[in-house]
């Protein structure tokens, strides 16, 4: 009787424990960030330059502009981090700089308003379907980087 118990149920118990651990891990990582659907984190250069990554709120901009304005007229590709934006281009009036020039929206001297993300957060479209499919935890700030600033 006892041997039978070991033979049939012990692997089951192990599997259940493993499953529980996996679920707990997923819950911990997914409960960390509750930002808006479509908020884009851009961290191409920020971490390396000692700045907080940029958080681009799609919702805020779509209240004011149709998709076409940025994605056709200003040349933003449909790819998070795929536009190779840097401050020189912005100051030159390209990309964000088309409006973030102190006339339509705040200028580049308001660093913290765009560079407001948690240090170490990877480039991503937050809450996107593809985020749900990648490894849990890969999209939240690395603990070491988060404590730096």
């Amino acid at each position: 009787m006892r041997t039978e118990f070991r033979k049939f149920y012990r692997p089951g118990v192990l599997w259940a424990l493993a499953l529980l651990a996996a679920i707990a891990g997923t819950m911990i990582t997914t409960s960390e960030a509750q930002a808006e659907y479509g908020d884009v984190v851009i961290n191409n250069h920020s971490d390396a330059a000692g700045m907080r990554p940029v958080v681009f709120p799609h919702w805020f901009h779509r209240v004011r502009f149709r998709c076409k304005v940025c994605h056709a007229d200003l040349g933003f590709k449909f790819k998070a981090g795929g536009n190779d934006i840097n401050m020189v281009k912005i100051i030159d009036g390209q990309f964000c700089g088309s409006c973030h020039n102190g006339k339509v929206a705040w200028a580049v001297d308001s660093c913290d308003l765009c560079h407001s993300g948690k240090p170490g957060t990877p480039t991503q479209v937050h809450e996107s379907t593809i985020n749900l499919l990648v490894t849990p935890g890969a999209l939240t700030p690395a603990p070491a980087a988060a404590g730096k600033r």
């Binding site: 819950m27 997914t30 409960s31 960390e32 960030a33 509750q34 930002a35 808006e36 659907y37 479509g38 908020d39 984190v41 907080r52 958080v55 709120p57 799609h58 919702w59 805020f60 779509r62 209240v63 004011r64 502009f65 149709r66 998709c67 076409k68 304005v69 994605h71 056709a72 007229d73 200003l74 449909f78 088309s98 409006c99 339509v104 929206a105 705040w106 001297d109 308001s110 660093c111 913290d112 308003l113 765009c114 560079h115 407001s116 993300g117 948690k118 240090p119 957060t121 479209v125 937050h126 809450e127 996107s128 379907t129 593809i130 499919l133 939240t140 404590g147 600033r149």
Partner: protein
């Protein structure tokens, strides 16, 4: 040890920034000039004239606290806060003090001490914050902004001595000594030197730029569901109560709230309605209905209770810390170590993968992506402040963007420069017959061309030719084809029937099949 040092550093940083903010904004004279002078300068609407000691004497005799209260709440022809609901209590009181000073009638000495920052002869920074920041922090009235090296360099060409003279005697819109005649000449020079040091060091202070407000939409009454308190909280309370700025007790910090709750929820609602300490009445949003404010207080209390249930002892602030905060003037911010308990960790939640209503549309400081330690995060608009009047749905931003656009509740521009340009809408439905038992997909060009240009999709994503596009749900979920937008900013794939919307048995109605 490093962690302790980090927390102490964070605490000090918050302390200094919160302190700087309250002082920068509290220039009594500049507020008086804008808000009070139009009536009190001319005696309009029965306002007692500034400088008319006879008119002011009986009012002052009745107690300056009564005057402060009238200025804050309004009286007779005077609107609350002189008609500017954005002003804090401290700012209104500073303006009243300025008016009383001009009227040769001194407010009670103890009150003056608490509201007018005492001048420390040693520190140019303190003088700057008390007397210069009202204009020089924001660039009001043409004042060169602190840290704007371009603006300051031009002036510096004339020499620091000339700038000292300008500051002492006034220049352009700037009054002598920044309007504070009680300053010693040496203090004014120290403040000028401080500003020059900032200009040389480059921009050190973040510009206080408030995000552009949403297009004016009629403020529809909030739906009377349980989420109302939370909406009000996020729009009007979270800026301070999510992080503990200016001594505000943090939401979910049961140690900070428990002593307050002992006075009763009613007393807390009264504090929220009338203001308390650094907190302005209704959190500074005078347009809120009393019931909304009460709902927000109830929401905060409910968060404290869930926090108590879920948090272990290690996350709460020691009672001594709370006591010291309530006694100190001005209130010092308190930083609660450790995360607040998350209600989504409740193992008995209905669906742990679904974002619970209490977690939707979190304010920037609480959303897990923005860094609450960044000064900019506080200035960003909270999503709910924009969403309350928009039609809601069950996914994404929990906003029905298509309906919001078609009902003209949002007026997004079609051209970045031309506000009158409008979309060329193409009304053509494309039907895609799909495998299996799912209903066929109807692709409406109409809803897409309201937002997008043809070139956004054709030909890079979709070849405009029948049968040329292989589309699968797997590709969409991996961010290709429809998934370039759907699942990122447009509604996600969980909303099957919004695309798979036509029964296989339906009769064709002139649509194009692909």
């Amino acid at each position: 040890m490093r962690r302790t040092a980090f927390i102490i550093g964070l605490l000090l940083g918050l302390l200094s920034s919160a302190h700087a903010q309250t002082q920068e904004l509290s220039g009594g004279r500049s507020i008086y000039d804008v808000q009070c002078l139009p009536c009190h300068g001319n005696g309009l609407l029965g306002a007692p004239r500034t400088g008319d000691a006879a008119a002011w004497a009986p009012r002052i005799a009745a107690g300056v606290n009564g005057l402060y209260a009238n200025a804050i709440k309004g009286k007779g022809g005077m609107p609350p806060r002189g008609g500017n609901a954005v002003l804090t209590d401290t700012q209104v009181i500073a303006a009243v003090n300025h008016m009383l000073n001009l009227s040769a009638a001194k407010p009670a000495a103890d009150v003056a001490k608490t509201t007018v920052a005492p001048v420390d002869a040693a520190s140019g920074r303190k003088v700057y914050q008390a007397s210069c920041a009202a204009c020089h922090a924001t660039g009001a009235a043409g004042a060169p902004k602190l840290g704007d090296s371009v603006a300051w360099t031009q002036r510096l060409n004339a020499g620091a001595g000339a700038m000292h003279t300008s500051a002492l005697k006034g220049k352009g819109a700037m009054p002598p000594k920044g309007g504070n005649a009680s300053l010693a000449d040496a203090d004014v020079r120290a403040a000028v030197d401080f500003m020059l040091a900032q200009a040389r060091g480059g921009a050190a202070t973040p510009a206080a730029v408030a995000p552009a407000t949403a297009p004016a939409t009629p403020s529809a009454p909030l739906s009377a569901d349980g989420g109302k308190g939370r909406m009000v909280y996020q729009a009007s309370c979270a800026a301070c109560h999510s992080t503990g700025v200016a001594g505000a007790p943090k939401i979910g910090d049961s140690a900070a709230w428990t002593p307050r709750l002992k006075a009763g929820a009613g007393a807390m609602q009264v504090s929220a309605l009338k203001g308390k300490g650094a907190m302005p009445p209704k959190g500074g949003n005078a347009s809120l209905a009393d019931a909304d404010v009460r709902a927000a207080v109830d929401y905060i209390i409910s968060q404290m209770r869930t926090g108590t249930a879920g948090a272990d002892a290690g996350t709460s602030v020691p009672a001594t810390a709370v006591a010291s905060v309530t006694q100190s003037i001005p209130p010092a911010p308190v930083v609660a170590p450790g995360p607040a308990a998350q209600s989504s960790n409740d193992p008995n939640a209905f669906n742990r993968l679904m974002t619970p209503p209490s977690k939707r549309n979190a304010a920037p400081a609480e959303d897990g992506i923005h860094d609450p330690a960044s000064p900019g995060t506080m200035l960003l608009q909270a999503p709910l402040a924009s969403f309350t009047t928009l039609p809601r749905n069950n996914t994404g931003n929990y906003v029905d963007w298509g309906a919001a656009l078609s009902k003209k509740q949002i007026l997004p521009r079609w051209d970045v420069r031309d506000p009158k340009a409008d979309a060329t809408v193409m009304d053509l439905n494309i039907v895609r017959e799909v495998k299996g038992s799912m209903p066929d997909v109807v692709f409406p060009h109409k809803q897409h061309t309201e937002w997008l240009d043809c070139s956004n999709c054709h030909p890079a994503i979709f070849i405009p030719q029948k049968g040329a596009n292989q589309i699968s749900m797997a590709a969409i979920m991996l961010g290709q084809k429809c998934g370039v937008c759907h699942g990122k900013v447009a509604f996600p794939v969980s909303e099957c029937r919004l695309c798979h919307s036509r029964s296989k048995n339906a009769q064709p109605t002139g649509e194009v099949k692909r």
